[in-house]
Amino acid sequence: MSGWGRFLLATMCGLMLAGIVHIAAVLSVPWLSEQDAFSRLRGTLAADRSEIIAAPGKETWLPHPDPAAALAACAYNLDEGPLRVSARTSPIFESLSFHARGGGIFYAVTDRAALRGVLDLIVMTRSQLDEAQANEDEDEPSHDVRIVAPRREGLVIVRAVAPFPSQREQAETAAKSVSCVTEPVSGRR
């Protein structure tokens, strides 16, 4: 093969490998990053209540924070069992979003979905859901709202928005009073 032919072949191989490197690099960012929300909130894994990550008038690492909104978060790991999230609603707008680590949002709900003033949901893995369904009493089915998480690790983000500056404290209280408790797997309740 001529010198030019070999050079061209090497360039083609290089370009193809570059494509593979590009894809591998983009896909690995969520796993390597220490800046992502989950890594920053790893310290809240054991906490039973959501912890404030952004509140009006306070410093935050979140890009583009809404000055009228208070954000709180619970990091979870479903290895020990499903996570029960309950929020008591107030006149303040409140919403919950469920993020998988490195996988984006898999569920979001606002306080409009609350029943008798309580928003109560269970986050579980597919196998935990199967187990819960297998253990369930057919005459007394569970009324829990069950959400299947695509990954074992993730975050619950609570948003509470204050329409007026005077309600900001109330929004902060609402955001940080959501409980996130790991439950033992059981169908019977």
């Binding site: 360039t11 929300a37 924070p65 000055p67 490195g102 949002i105 898999f106 979001a108």
Partner: protein, 209 residues
């Protein structure tokens, strides 16, 4: 015989050397281009899936399960936690109606309606993507705070100097951008209900030199 072998060995060595160089060249190309393009793609904002409606930009899938790998990488890099579909909708603008970048030396009027939502907030950000800090302690308006006329229409003026009505103070210098958050809204990104007519326009009024 010895004389005939020596040139042959030389060519072999030269071939091996040039092959090694070519392999090194291919690997450098792969790493350089692959990593460089990956960094370029996820180093800024969300690269794909944006929809432009008038001056506003919406990312239709960053708040859903369908977020692409690039969006996931950007989220991981910045620590961003976007609004989920069903929770709300974020619209951003860094230019006015005519497409000219927002300039802190100019005066802008934003109004007069927003799509239906339980609550909305409009925020002015500085070049570091943080709400602007001025001595007035106001970096935005919520739908409850904004003063409206008899028809429920509003107009917010962005200016460095005091204005009557809804006034947001521009910072002295730097890049600025706007974010409109519609909380608990029925309009979704990409739906027909999200049209330029229903969104606030950003009109440039005058510029100081």
């Amino acid at each position: 015989m010895r004389d005939a072998r020596a040139p042959a060995a030389k060519t072999v060595i030269r071939r091996i050397l040039s092959s090694t160089l070519l392999v090194l060249y291919a690997l450098t190309l792969a790493l350089g281009l692959g990593l460089g393009s990956a960094y370029w793609a996820v180093g800024g904002g969300y690269p794909f899936g944006s929809i432009r409606v008038g001056p506003w930009t919406v990312w239709s899938r960053t708040g859903s399960r369908e977020a692409d790998p690039y969006a996931r990488a950007v989220m991981a890099r910045t620590g961003d936690t976007p609004l989920g579909v069903g929770e709300g909708l974020l619209l951003t603008a860094s230019a006015d109606n005519s497409g000219q970048s927002l300039d802190p030396r100019c005066v802008y009027r934003i109004g007069a309606t927003t799509p239906q939502a339980r609550l909305w907030t409009l925020t002015l950000y500085d070049g570091d993507d943080q709400p602007v800090v001025t001595d007035l302690a106001r970096s935005g308006f919520t739908s409850a705070e904004v003063v409206r006329d008899g028809d429920g229409r509003f107009s917010i003026v962005l200016s460095r100097h005091a204005q009557p009505g809804n006034w947001l103070r521009m910072p002295e210098t730097g890049r600025v951008s706007l974010a409109l958050r519609l909380y608990d809204t029925s309009v979704a990104a990409g739906s027909a209900a999200l049209e330029a007519r229903a969104l606030p326009s950003i009109e440039r009024l005058e510029c100081a030199r």
